[in-house]
């Protein structure tokens, strides 16, 4: 592989990183909001969100990506490929994250809540100061796991023509007629990205062990 092939590969890696990164960032926050709304058990909304989560979790990423990209124009929305990819990845990861947050809510200690209310905290102050810092740390292993699933699933956006880290290997081998080196290099880059996440997860688990006692 020459330097121009490496350049293409790095570009592909960058596309995978930023599209996944934006989806992860939105997905973690949206997942938290949806979990909050579900815990509040607001009628109708609760059921609607339940249906969304079931659908999003059951749909293969490739199918979701194609669905978003193909239906948007029929509703008069002109979607750029990257945006369609981000929307599809976000819809997928949000659903999984919402379930991770929700289980952390449900398992959170009732005693700590009583101590907070008894001392004069409003439910909002309690959520922000006592609950959120702790469920963030306890949810992180699950969230990071989901992040790595999303990154590994992100080649699905290639079906609508986004040139990500996997798709770019095709382009390189189309010129070099030697598909193995770019695929191996891409695998190494995926491993680098995932191992960065795993390292972050270890860090969080070490912090979480303090809270477990």
């Amino acid at each position: 592989m020459d330097s121009s092939a490496w350049g293409l590969l790095i570009q592909g890696a960058w596309t995978t990183l930023w599209i996944s990164g934006i989806s992860i960032a939105i997905g973690v926050v949206m997942g938290l909001l949806i979990a909050l709304l579900r815990v509040a058990k607001i009628p109708v909304l609760h059921q609607l969100l339940g249906v969304y989560i079931s659908l999003a979790r059951a749909t293969p990423l490739v199918t979701l990506v194609l669905f978003i990209f193909l239906t948007a124009p029929t509703m008069g929305i002109n979607l750029n490929r990257n945006v369609a990819g981000i929307i599809a990845l976000t819809l997928n990861t949000t659903a999984f994250n919402a379930e991770i947050w929700r289980s952390a809510f449900n398992n959170f200690s009732k005693e700590q809540r009583e101590a907070a209310l008894a001392i004069g905290m409003t439910p909002w102050v309690y959520f922000r100061r006592i609950m959120l810092p702790q469920i963030t740390i306890t949810s992180l292993p699950g969230l990071v796991n989901e992040m790595s699933f999303l990154i590994k699933g992100s080649p699905a956006i290639a079906v609508i023509g986004v040139v990500d880290l996997t798709r770019v290997t095709n382009r390189i081998s189309a010129v070099t007629y030697d598909p193995l080196p770019p695929i191996l290099a891409a695998a190494v880059l995926y491993m680098l990205i995932i191992s960065l996440l795993v390292w972050l997860q270890r860090l969080a688990e070490r912090k979480a062990s303090r809270l477990a006692v």
Binding site: E111, A115, L117, A118, I119, G120, M121, I137, L211, V213
Partner: protein, 255 residues
């Protein structure tokens, strides 16, 4: 004019799933008074205490803290979350299971509410917290996290945390029941000091000798009804009812 009672409970009733746990309970706690609520388990004493700060909502009756009704606003509607939080801030509560916040150090457990509820500056809150940690003998552990502490130490921190809001009344819900026997003394010692300093306190406890030593008034609950309410010397030496006599024989045969 009589002084306004620190806590005034009138005709309180409460059921859980059809079982009445409190029936028409009335009780007044004067400022500076220490009141112990005794009774066997299931008698409703913890529920009574938890109604005072509205952690449990009574079905009937009303509770006033220094004259102001808790849980129900002047218009007769349930209080807003903010109003209720304001009322609860006037009451300190100490739980059987300590209920410290594990993600915060000892010092931050104590300063959390003064800073984020009362709006004190960090410096002011630290100063107040350190004085209280000194009082309960935990100042040297201020940077430690709850999981490193013994039960007795956790409970002393929990007491400092409640005191940091400068409450009008302290509520203790079986503060030593979860402790190993050798750790009970250090917690009771702190509570006793508070009673000497004139804190108004309502105490649910199984420590008979302690209740006798610190209380101005002892209340005995049986199946949700107050069946005796008297001075400790009278209560322990001269109980009016057979029920209390039997209870005392079982709980404190040596006394």
């Amino acid at each position: 004019m009589p002084e306004t009672a620190a806590v005034s409970i009138r005709n309180l009733s409460k059921s859980f799933d059809g079982t009445e746990v409190l029936r028409d309970v009335s009780l007044e706690v004067q400022p500076g008074e220490v009141v112990s609520i005794l009774g066997s388990s299931g008698s409703g004493k913890s529920t009574l205490l938890r109604c005072i700060n509205w952690l449990e909502q009574p079905d009937r009756g009303d509770i006033r803290i220094a004259g102001d009704r808790i849980g129900v606003s002047d218009s007769g509607k349930p209080m807003s979350r903010r109003e209720l939080a304001g009322m609860r801030a006037r009451l300190g509560m100490v739980f059987q299971g300590f209920n410290l916040w594990p993600h915060l150090s000892v010092l931050r457990n104590v300063t959390e509410a003064p800073i984020h509820v009362q709006g004190l500056s960090k410096t002011e809150a630290d100063e107040r917290a350190m004085a209280l940690l000194e009082k309960v003998g935990m100042a040297d552990k201020r940077e430690q996290y709850p999981y490193t502490l013994s039960g007795g130490q956790k409970q002393r921190v929990a007491i400092a945390r409640a005191l940091a809001m400068q409450p009008k009344v302290m509520l203790f819900d079986e503060p030593t029941s979860a402790l190993d026997p050798e750790l009970v003394g250090e917690v009771l010692g702190v509570i006793k000091d508070l009673s000497k300093e004139g804190y108004t306190m309502v105490l649910v406890t199984h420590e008979m000798e302690f209740a006798r030593a610190v209380s101005d008034q002892v209340v005995f609950l049986d199946k949700g009804i107050i069946i005796e309410k008297s001075h400790p010397s009278e209560f322990f030496e001269n109980p009016k009812t057979d029920r209390v006599r039997r209870f005392l024989e079982l709980e404190a045969p040596a006394v």
